[in-house]
Subunit: 462 residues, 2 copies
Amino acid sequence: MSAETAQDFDAGISPPAVILAAGQGWRLARREDKTPKPARSLLGLSLAERTLSSCMAAGIQRFVVVLGHLADEVRAHFEKIAAKRGCDVEFVTAPDWQLGNGASALVASKKVGAATFLLTMVDHLLDPALIHRVLRTRPKQGEVCLGVDRRKAAIFDLDDVTKVGLSNDRVSRIGKTLAEWDAADTGVFLCTPALFEGLKRARAKNRHSLSDGIAELAASGHVLAVDVSGESWLDVDTPAAHQEARRRLLASLTKGGEDGYVSARLNRPVSTRLSARLAGTGITPNQITLLSFAISLVGAALFARGQHLAGVLGGLLVQISSVLDGCDGEIARLKHLTTPRGAWLDTLLDRYSDLLIALAVTFAYAAAHPGPLPWLAGFIAVCGFTLASYVTKEFALRLGRPYPNDVLNRLKRRDLRLLVICLGAIVNRPFEALLAVGALSHACVLGVLIRGWLGSKAVPSR
Amino acid sequence: MSAETAQDFDAGISPPAVILAAGQGWRLARREDKTPKPARSLLGLSLAERTLSSCMAAGIQRFVVVLGHLADEVRAHFEKIAAKRGCDVEFVTAPDWQLGNGASALVASKKVGAATFLLTMVDHLLDPALIHRVLRTRPKQGEVCLGVDRRKAAIFDLDDVTKVGLSNDRVSRIGKTLAEWDAADTGVFLCTPALFEGLKRARAKNRHSLSDGIAELAASGHVLAVDVSGESWLDVDTPAAHQEARRRLLASLTKGGEDGYVSARLNRPVSTRLSARLAGTGITPNQITLLSFAISLVGAALFARGQHLAGVLGGLLVQISSVLDGCDGEIARLKHLTTPRGAWLDTLLDRYSDLLIALAVTFAYAAAHPGPLPWLAGFIAVCGFTLASYVTKEFALRLGRPYPNDVLNRLKRRDLRLLVICLGAIVNRPFEALLAVGALSHACVLGVLIRGWLGSKAVPSR
């Protein structure tokens, strides 16, 4: 993959990534645990799979994995991941990996030849956006780029992190014990083969860490600092760091600001805890989507009986289904398994679930209250639900921009209407609750309609 | 607008357009009609407004209009259009316009200076795509580009059209009476000031038509032919050509292949005739949208009475509303008035209209047939309608491409369901018709769901 790859890179094709997976990781390992560190699980994915899938999300397809400690086990683990994710992995073994990670990195030169390549560690939790920012740089011949983080206050385990001193956009010094420093080394490099020259010069001085090799290049001004401040990265090398990685991954699930009121305050805190447990099992996001749908159907069937106790049970099931409805997406994001297909299935089943719940509640009320009025009201309410989902899709398609997550959008969301119906069922007023959220949905649709009218061009487009 | 404009053009900003509007147009004019030719109406827009709006649709914002015959009236007419459409129009008067259109074109040199400019005639019906293709060329200094059409069989009024002989991609000869010719002159030019040199050389020989000037430049190989075959253009200079222009504009309304079965075969033929009449009035597309909605509401109210005769009347009104629902878009396209706002209003009112029609039909049937079953069935049917609209929007947003207009898409369209309900009402079975189209809608939604599932990626996106 040598000369060809260098051209590919210039043409905008992603370079290969060298993953250092030779170390022992004794600080993280438990005594009784024989699992090699790269195979150590973090919320349902091994550290190795997280690193590969993060790199793949940033566009990388080909990997060179450097093996050392427990080489056979680690290799087998990576081969399993490669088959599952459909990427191309080559292996190279570092005989003297115990000397340091620089000694491990050096053996990769056999595989990358003259190509530019990404270099990182198997035990780093990296946001794909960080990798992407490093990939956007273009090191010249003789240079190496290093992603650095200037936000000192946000760095986890300051004692253990490798620090760099900067001179303009160049790294001037590097080490764990610098007294004065400007930024942290994130462990993500974009390298030309110059890296190997630096490592060899350090080796000649009997220094064998990657930092030693980088320090050699930095001394001659050949290490460019790429500022990736603001992106998440973490060296998962201690139990405390492992806990922090878990915490960060779970916190990232509630980000984005797209949640409704109930989702943000009630459903998410429960569903993320549940997702954290479910991620470790083999259950897939689509299976959870189907389970959530099935539970809502049982809830609807209980509503249809029209009894208070059955209604309470139905309401609780519907709320459980609503919480589970968050887990499918969360687990997909946690395990890098998000697919258009999954989102498609989830959204359509939600619409049918809404319809059947509303139908059951109306049916039960109409059975006890003859005459057309209950049906009329339930009819209008359920149309409000579907139109509430429809109107923002139509907005996005007609006006060419997504509808913002404003008050109207949050008030017409499924999380809120299901909770209101659940609460209504608990106080034996499910139908009244249905009508209330139906009316609210129609009001929100009208609001979005007006917003779309005012926000769209009244003059012919050119 | 001289030197600056030449730079703008190189930077991708559209050049100004010179519109020749000086001629008498006696062949089109009626004896008793004092309207100058540019103000002559064609399906609700004057020839002048059609030319300006076509140019604007191709990106042009600034115009130089050459006046001659009835200069004051024509100027006032263009000023009205400029105010309505928000474009920039300058005027220049050709004192000797009666000599020929070359003499008219020559006076434009005062306004365009050294700029590249588009040149066309006020009485040409032009598809914006044709103008766009001519604008994509870049004539060098000393050159002029001419849009030519090689499809001889498709040319209207072969006797009257100006013909060109081609030598590779250059025009070698031009004239109305060429014995051998390769393509027709569409009357759309992209010119450098070299045009004026050609016109002056022709004038010295006492020749004053635009073709004479072009012939001078063609003789030295300075006229590039731009092949625009396949795009619609028409010189509207006779009553027969005016009829042909009407025919083409109306035919273009049914193009695109996005119509449902009923729309294509029943509604469109009626609605285009109606639009042709309505285009001449001051009624706006949004007013028609509201009228169509109001008529459907009256139809729904009649359905709710549950009597056969009222139902028949209701059914007919609903079908009339369905036909009118095509007119708003047609008139908008005919009069270059398409707006995102109009499409937004139309689509949302359609959803509410569907809901109220289904509600009324169910209400009437349930009144005559006590028990929950009619309501249950009607409930499910109406959700089928909204979901049918919803599912293809969701498809477009989730999968990033529009859902194709396949059988499923045509079978779940509003045109079909409204006609079936109308026919059901005529045979006094509106509820059964509602259930039939409701079931059909759900079947189509399921079909689209499956198609989306099979057509979406099951592996994580990268």
